[in-house]
Symmetry: C2
Subunit: 219 residues, 2 copies
């Protein structure tokens, strides 16, 4: 795995802008419009390959850009279309009695982001929601929000967590995350609130979510 | 799930300290010594319960504090003992031919953290390393580092990624994460470098890692 030192291509994050600014202030207006979600489905069952491939195939991704690798899939585009597609992927993978988790990283405004690898649909008509809107099941969820480059991030995290309390989907706060419990639609509606809040208040944020269904572990 | 408004217990992150300071400056010196790792094993196999329980049972957690819930397990203590235990848990769960992922969140210095729920061992003798040091297998990995409350976080991320390039474990940079490929021991050695770098440079950081073995997806 060793490389010739002269052949090393180092990354240069942070050095092409003002040295004390890592908040995206050097970005073009277009690039910060890109919402992304990197996610991975984990199916605790021998049939995991067919369940994952089936879910990905059933999901309409015509209004977003996507790339699937060994570790995860990434969707990039307008916020509502990214949310619509990733929600559909999760709902399409849900299998009665099968324990499944999904790890999701929503993000927007990374100073290292590029104005490429994206589809920005012109309209807001959701491709998947009409086909999944009547499918309901309970989900255990943990979330963690990381507003980057600002000092008062804890106050913003409190605002977002308190909104979950107002919605009645909050279960508890614990080390390094907040635990939610709700129907799948109520959770994704909340994620839309969080992503909207973040894009209005921060130049760069990361919102980490893990969903779990059909866990055999008792409460 | 609705609650009586008078009974709501809101969170108050950020409000008990200087309003523009969310960097842990109000913490007691003890609490910032606590390194934590919240993690979850995902086993893509019908035998997932016995594999996970077997791995947890084989792991010596006498030098850390632990709590297991429906969504994940958290270890808290001295950095080297937390790393030793979480590494052992992953190695102990490894099963030839079984696809498995592990999601890990390392963190230290959260301003909302409490100086409790922790075991701080007096010595640095590792409990698990002697039993796992000769077990080798290749791992696919993605990482993302979030130094909180500072503006020049991108430069620090570049430093940490460039160290992975120097070590020869770097595969590529992609949207929202960096991809690594290495033997399990080289990866955990790198995580120790990252956690040490972060505890020396930041009052609060979060380091997200996902590990994957035996993936059926082609490169």
């Amino acid at each position: 795995m060793s490389q010739n030192p002269e052949e090393k291509h180092y990354v240069t994050y942070g050095s092409q802008q003002n040295s004390d600014c890592g908040c995206g202030c050097a970005l073009s207006p277009e690039s910060v419009k890109i919402t992304g979600c990197r996610f991975a489905l984990n199916i605790m069952d021998d049939r995991y390959i067919s369940i994952i491939l089936g879910a990905l195939q059933k999901t309409d991704t015509s209004k977003i850009w996507q790339d699937t690798g060994r570790l995860s899939t990434v969707y990039r585009g307008k916020q509502i279309h990214v949310e619509d597609a990733v929600k559909a992927c999760f709902v399409n993978a849900f299998t009665e009695g099968v324990h499944m988790t999904m790890e999701m990283t929503f993000s927007r405004g990374c100073p290292g982001d590029v104005n490429a690898d994206v589809t920005l649909a012109e309209d807001d008509v959701l491709q998947n929601e009409p086909r999944i809107k009547d499918i309901h099941f309970p989900v255990d969820c943990k979330i963690a929000l990381y507003p980057m480059g600002i000092k008062n991030y804890m106050e913003h995290i409190a605002t977002v967590v308190n909104h979950a309390i107002d919605l009645g989907i909050y279960d508890r706060s614990t080390h390094y995350c907040t635990v939610l419990k709700a129907d799948v639609h109520d959770l994704f509606s909340y994620f839309d609130y969080v992503n909207t809040y973040c894009s209005e208040h921060f130049s760069h944020y990361v919102f980490e979510v893990t969903l779990s269904v059909n866990s055999p572990t008792k409460e």
